[in-house]
């Protein structure tokens, strides 16, 4: 597994742990009603698991297993992929902070979403040439 895939997948696993912890806290309180404001965590829960965990995990595995190039650099424009990884996580964290402080319509949350869109486009541009038959080029 290449280094960037290790970073992406392990980051996704961290988000999985955080997302399950927040989700568990919410479900526990839905049952036992210890914290009446437990629903305030819902945006963080969704962001951690949908973008931080699932989307990031899929991207990490795709980076690992999509066909490589026959000649160096075998993983293509890897700087672009690193940039996508950094921008994606800046986006997730900015969105989480923004929704936590001011709700889903806050400026920070919108900036976070914007960063996530940039990251998605970056990954799409990076991966496009690797979606091809094996043992070609």
């Amino acid at each position: 597994m290449p280094r960037l895939a290790v970073w992406i997948v392990r980051t996704a696993l961290i988000y999985l742990g955080c997302g399950f912890t927040v989700g568990g806290y919410m479900l526990l309180n839905k049952g036992l009603r210890l914290d009446p404001n437990f629903l305030t965590w819902v945006y963080m829960h969704e962001e951690l698991l949908l973008i931080g965990w699932m989307l990031q995990f899929v991207i990490g595995v795709a980076f690992w297993i999509l066909p490589r190039f026959m000649t160096a650099p075998k993983y293509g424009a890897i700087e672009l992929a690193w940039a996508g990884y950094i921008v994606l996580n800046m986006g997730v964290l900015t969105t989480i902070v923004g929704t936590w402080i001011e709700g889903p319509g806050s400026a920070a949350a919108l900036i976070g979403r914007g960063l996530e869109i940039v990251a998605a486009a970056t990954f799409a541009i990076y991966m496009w040439p690797r979606v091809r038959p094996f043992l070609v080029g």
Partner: protein, 139 residues
């Protein structure tokens, strides 16, 4: 494909069908005149889909295909893998049954089902992280 992966993937396929049935019922409640409690199944639908289907499919495929941990323990701990499968599924099923009942009647005394569900799913999530972390490595 190891036996545990087959269980994960087949269970995830059952959840996929179940989720779409539940989601379809929630959507068709008004036009078909289904009972009002069917409308309470929206969170169950989301979690059947995201935990039962997507997450469980990921767990099963990762357990199968990720780099081997060692020659003697290629998939790290097999018992932990089974514990993840069991806790995730019992936890999710408790939620599927308990959440609509608690929402319909908060004084039903069934809130413990959701609390146990939360703990079991949390254990499953962290079990997966522990069992997978060291298999995510550079060659």
């Amino acid at each position: 494909m190891p036996p545990l992966t087959r269980y994960f993937i087949k269970a995830s396929l059952i959840y996929l069908v179940s989720a779409l049935l539940v989601g379809g019922a929630a959507l068709a409640r008004a036009p078909l005149g289904l009972p009002s409690w069917v409308g309470l199944l929206q969170p169950v639908y989301y979690h059947l889909l995201m935990v039962g289907w997507v997450t469980q499919m990921i767990f099963g495929v990762a357990y199968w295909m990720f780099p081997k941990f060692s020659k003697t323990e290629p998939r790290r701990s097999v018992p932990l893998g089974w514990a993840i499968f069991i806790t995730l599924n019992i936890g999710l099923l408790l939620r599927v049954v308990g959440e609509p009942l608690v929402t319909l009647n908060p004084a039903s005394g069934l809130g413990w089902m959701l609390a146990v569900s939360a703990v079991l799913q949390w254990i499953a999530g962290f079990g997966f992280i522990v069992n997978t972390w060291a298999r995510v490595k550079e060659r």
